[in-house]
């Protein structure tokens, strides 16, 4: 085998430009596939991290009637905070949230809004909840950048909100926008107004009640609580996984096209080699190679393109991939309109597994594509090959 490797290397390097053009095309496939997969992993990582920091923590208990896709369910989805979680809550490892339906009236327009009560001293989310801890004649509130964009509200603006309390009575008050946050998590930002939890309890007449209980530690065992449904972190981020899976399928088509281009170059080189190098094939046989060994030599030669491509790809790809991991890739269109947890700039994340898998897949595909045309050698007549006669 090492003889074949040695000869294949000599043949490839000796072939000069033809080899390096093929190697360049193949190395481009390596770098692009690793980069694109890295962007996907980076997006997955960013989406889940942002969701953890702004929305779901380490997992949640949902009130049994709560349905995030049905606003009408909010009328019934609240009940007293269960005693089982009181200790966690006191330690700050669990945050209750009450969500009620309401309306907001920016510049005289009416917009539906979800009013979410949150404790100002919470440390579980990266939300600017400390901005709620202020003395003002209006109710302090903060909103996300998406909500600020659609309502055209700024920090310091005052705006009227309306809600219905537990007894069905409509009431209204003025809120002061104390802060606006950016999270990349649309469900944490869109149509949501965050208020101090105790003020929302007063406003809704739902003292001590919550819709969601978010805990910090995703690893700890959580008890079943009657009337509450445990939603582990994995389940809450499942949507991201499915979305990325869908996107990955689309990307796979692109990888396939890239690989196809590279493989076409290899296949073309191999077919050309076998036709142009008949005399050489005959010489190998005359000097003591069997036809199978010549097939092996040509297969190794073709496969070696992938090895050289990995080296060439590493030479220019590593600096490029490292630079991308540092500065990220900024999407050319506004990502906030996508309706999913996606940052405007994605930072690719590359794992050793990703690199090894890509190199293996490309190398094995190259070996297969090199072998297929080389099989023709096994049927060659060596005496005619020696004369360079096309077979």
């Amino acid at each position: 085998m090492w003889i074949a490797i040695k000869l294949a290397y000599r043949n490839l390097v000796g072939a000069g430009l033809r080899t390096w053009l093929t190697v360049l095309v193949l190395s481009f496939s390596f770098v692009v596939i690793i980069w694109m997969k890295g962007v996907m992993v980076g997006w997955d990582h960013q989406a889940k991290t942002d969701m953890t920091h702004y929305e779901i923590g380490g997992g949640q208990y949902w009130h049994e009637a709560y349905d995030p896709y049905d606003p009408m369910s909010l009328y019934d989805s609240h009940k007293p905070i269960p005693p089982e979680v009181k200790d966690d809550m006191e330690r700050g490892d669990l945050e209750p949230a009450l969500i009620i339906q309401g309306n907001i009236f920016p510049q005289g327009r009416m917009m539906p809004a979800l009013l979410q009560g949150i404790r100002p001293d919470q440390t579980l989310f990266r939300l600017p909840s400390q901005s709620l801890d202020t003395l003002t004649d209006a109710i302090p509130a903060f909103i996300g950048a998406m909500m600020a964009g659609s309502s055209r509200l700024k920090v310091g603006d005052r705006v009227t909100i309306r809600w219905r309390d537990a007894h069905g009575t409509f009431d209204a008050a003025e809120i002061l926008i104390a802060a606006i946050f950016h999270s990349n998590v649309p469900t944490a930002e869109a149509s949501k107004v965050y208020l101090p939890l105790d003020r929302l309890w007063d406003m809704s007449q739902l003292h001590g009640q919550a819709t969601l209980l978010t805990f910090r530690d995703s690893q700890a065992d959580r008890p079943e609580i009657p009337g509450w449904i445990l939603k582990p972190k994995g389940e809450l981020t499942q949507q991201v996984d499915e979305l990325i899976k869908t996107k990955s399928v689309g990307q796979t088509v692109l990888y396939a096209v890239l690989l196809l281009l590279a493989m076409l170059a290899i296949f073309d080189t191999q077919v050309l080699s076998i036709f142009r190098r008949q005399k050489e094939i005959g010489t190998y046989i005359a000097l003591g190679y069997t036809r199978k060994e010549v097939v092996g030599l040509f297969t190794v030669e073709g496969s070696m393109h992938a090895v050289l491509a990995a080296l060439v790809g590493a030479a220019y790809g590593l600096p490029f991939l490292a630079w991308q991991a540092r500065v990220g890739w900024t999407m050319p269109i506004d990502a906030s309109q996508f309706g999913m947890a996606i940052a405007q700039t994605l930072y690719p994340v590359y794992s050793a597994g990703l690199v090894v898998t890509t190199v293996l897949i490309v190398t094995l595909t190259t070996a297969l594509v090199s072998y297929l045309p080389s099989r023709r050698i096994a049927k060659m007549n060596p005496t005619e090959a020696l004369r360079g006669k096309l077979q």
Binding site: N11, G14, K279, G282, L287, T290, G388
Partner: protein, 230 residues
Amino acid sequence: MDIIQIKDLNKRFPMGKGAFTALNRVNLQFGRGEFAGLIGPSGSGKTTLLNIIGSLDIPSDGEVRVLGHSVGSLSQKEAARLRREHLGFIFQSYNLLQVHTVYENVEFPLLLLRTTPATRRRMVLDALDWVGLTGREHSKPPQLSGGECQRVAIARAMVKRPSLVLADEPTANLDAANSHNILRTMETLNRELQTTFLFATHDDKVINYLHRKVFLLDGRVDKEETTQSN
């Protein structure tokens, strides 16, 4: 002792609905250290016979034994082994590996024999010395003249010190001076190393050097001549 024994050899090639007979009841023997040639016009069967002796082809009928091996019954692997260990080939158009250097071309048969690097180096340099190419190790075939290319081919054929060298029209692409040079080199190697040389040729320059001449005509042995070695 005969290293080639040919008995009632026939070789036919399919041609249309029939067959073309390239060799017809050929009977020959060649001993160790002979400097012999198969002589005849184009189509007389000399290259076909050389290919069968070189185990690159098989007889249709009859038997060809080379160094005790019956060529017709060898598997591909056994035939490759016979060529690798005992036979050297010299071709009309040199058949050098174009992208390899002179050194690498000559080294190739030794790589197949898995010779150690130190031995390999010594043997390659010796072979290059025999053919007067010392100092040209790093040149590649496109940088060499026809005569030099054929010298490389001889070095490649001789480097493993084979029992038998088969040379098919080795001077066909060379001028007179180069042809004589090449032939003198081969004759010296034949004398010093006792390697059997078997040529296929119709070149008078080669014929004059041969110690034994086997004339072929239409696939048959027409006549034989033996001359005293120089």
